[in-house]
Symmetry: C2
Subunit: 322 residues, 2 copies
């Protein structure tokens, strides 16, 4: 995985992705007692960063193969990203989703024109289902994170952060990233490492699902005890990716773990102070910036808010914390 | 009011304002049966467009006079805009606010360092209170809309819309604007009229508070029967401004009126489809784009979402409509 691959993905995504804004609020700075900026990737097409990786990967497939269609397995955001990227390319998409994914994500994926196949997280393997259908129907598999073109697509966020930080005069910062399999985190870390050694990329995970944070501490890939059931459904993965882990090991600083309570408060503060809607899995980095700012080296923190597809009932519960 | 004043305001606001994104969603296009873009000014500093006009006006005051401080009267968003713009200029701000303004807006204004004076909307005149204190303490009055520098500041949104529309290839559009006193609407209309005759700016108001829409129909300033009590508190004004009305008469197309029910649905759809938080007064233009698209001349509609400071309880009610 080279920086050039991120530059290439950035070219393919030009005029397709949204350049999402870097937001801030004096009220949030006060809570963290540091300067906080929020990269609002919940405002990306389909409501998460996943569109970038999906578009990057699909646009890399040779045309004749691409026409046959794509398949992906995902708890929701990657599903929508692939469905929308396929729609733009005018090719069919099949998405394998867990039965317990938020209803809104399943419905959105269908509404974006994809065929959805549901599976049971506890008894079935999404990888096996995905590969079986892929082979039967000659579909190109777009993995959620362990794929160079996907990582490169997510890395375009790092390029935007570098440009936007320069514009507002930020020279040193901790960049906190919501971390599942590590596609977003490793992509951003590779992109930023190219520009300046003064940006420290750190993965952030929810308590109980901190496989990446522990893996970085120990230096080898660790596994979570539970593989479902957390609040932060979008970033629950069993273990760091085979491709993403070496990249994170090389380019990232130590990770941060947050509680579900901190996640719910971060969602509420994003509502009152930033006027953006964020989902639990997309809020862990902001929660870390607000409530664990002392774990960061720099006085400026950039938190990547990775998604905003949240069930209304969970959002209402978050608002109760105000 | 000349276009040059908007260009001057744009220079003063450079690196101070946020260039807010133009968002869209295939799901919203489907509802409207037209192509809809949303200018998300709820993502501006302090959560509404009002920061632009406030900063534009304060930065125009001669330095010696400016140092004595500013005063403003406002139902909330102008209050926060003036308080934050004064904070950046490091000068004191006094804000006269109605007792029935949303608590979050009163608290935010105080937290931004302003002194807040409350008044009763039904028995007292905010203009009189504002002018009295202004004279006693030598404070510069920053009116909410009827002031050239304020209108010019809001007009910078029109410049951004023209640039952003060009970038994505939009040549013709109806631009729908949430309208209270008309500062935002007239500023945008003047700015857009300079670029192309193919953009039609239209004010949008809530049922029962449609003074501007009726005034444009009749050709003379009309007054609302009620002066408080509506859902869309941010844009409830008794009559169009003295300065803003002639501008709207010259540069605007006919207005559109929406119901409170449509406003609540627009808030919910902005939550699920755009992942932004919008307040009732800031949602009327989106409601018009979604549910009155046939009243627009063009196949593309740009709706300006003007603010996102909403009480959590009202937001929760809006989510019930999903």
């Amino acid at each position: 995985m080279q920086i050039d691959e991120i530059f290439e993905a950035d070219k393919r995504l030009k005029k397709k992705k949204r350049t999402t804004p870097l937001l801030n609020s004096p009220f949030l700075d006060e809570i963290a007692d540091k300067q906080i900026f929020i990269k609002a990737e919940c405002l990306q097409h389909t409501g998460s960063f996943k569109f970038r990786g999906a578009y990057s990967a699909i646009s890399s497939i040779p045309i004749e193969k691409r026409k046959k269609g794509v398949i992906a397995y995902s708890s929701g955001n990657h599903a929508q990203g692939v469905a929308f990227a396929a729609k733009i390319h005018k090719i069919p998409a099949t998405i394998v989703m867990p039965q317990d994914a938020p209803e809104i994500k399943i419905n959105n994926t269908k509404d974006l024109g994809a065929e959805v196949i549901l599976y049971d997280r506890l008894s079935e393997s999404r990888e096996e289902i995905g590969q079986k259908i892929s082979q039967e129907k000659f579909l190109s598999l777009i993995p959620p994170y362990d794929h160079n073109d996907v990582i490169a697509g997510q890395g375009t966020i790092g390029l935007e952060i570098a440009r936007q930080a320069e514009q507002i005069g930020i020279r040193k910062a901790d960049v906190l990233v919501c971390c599942g399999g590590g596609g977003l985190t490793s992509g951003i870390a590779v992109a930023l490492s190219n520009f300046t050694p003064n940006f420290v990329t750190r993965p952030v995970e929810p308590e109980g699902f901190d496989d990446v944070v522990r893996s970085l501490e120990i230096g080898e890939r660790q596994t979570n005890e539970k593989i479902s059931g957390g609040l932060c459904d979008a970033i629950i993965t069993p273990t760091p990716g085979k491709l993403t882990f070496p990249l994170m090991k090389k380019y990232c600083g130590g990770g941060i773990v947050v509680t579900d309570e901190q996640v719910m408060k971060a969602i509420a503060l994003a509502f009152t102070r930033l006027r953006i809607v964020i989902e639990p899995g997309g809020a862990v980095a902001l929660a870390a910036a607000l409530f664990h700012s002392k774990k960061c080296d720099n006085e400026t923190i950039i938190a990547v808010v990775s998604g905003g597809n949240i069930d209304p009932d969970i959002f209402k519960k978050a608002l109760e914390t105000i």
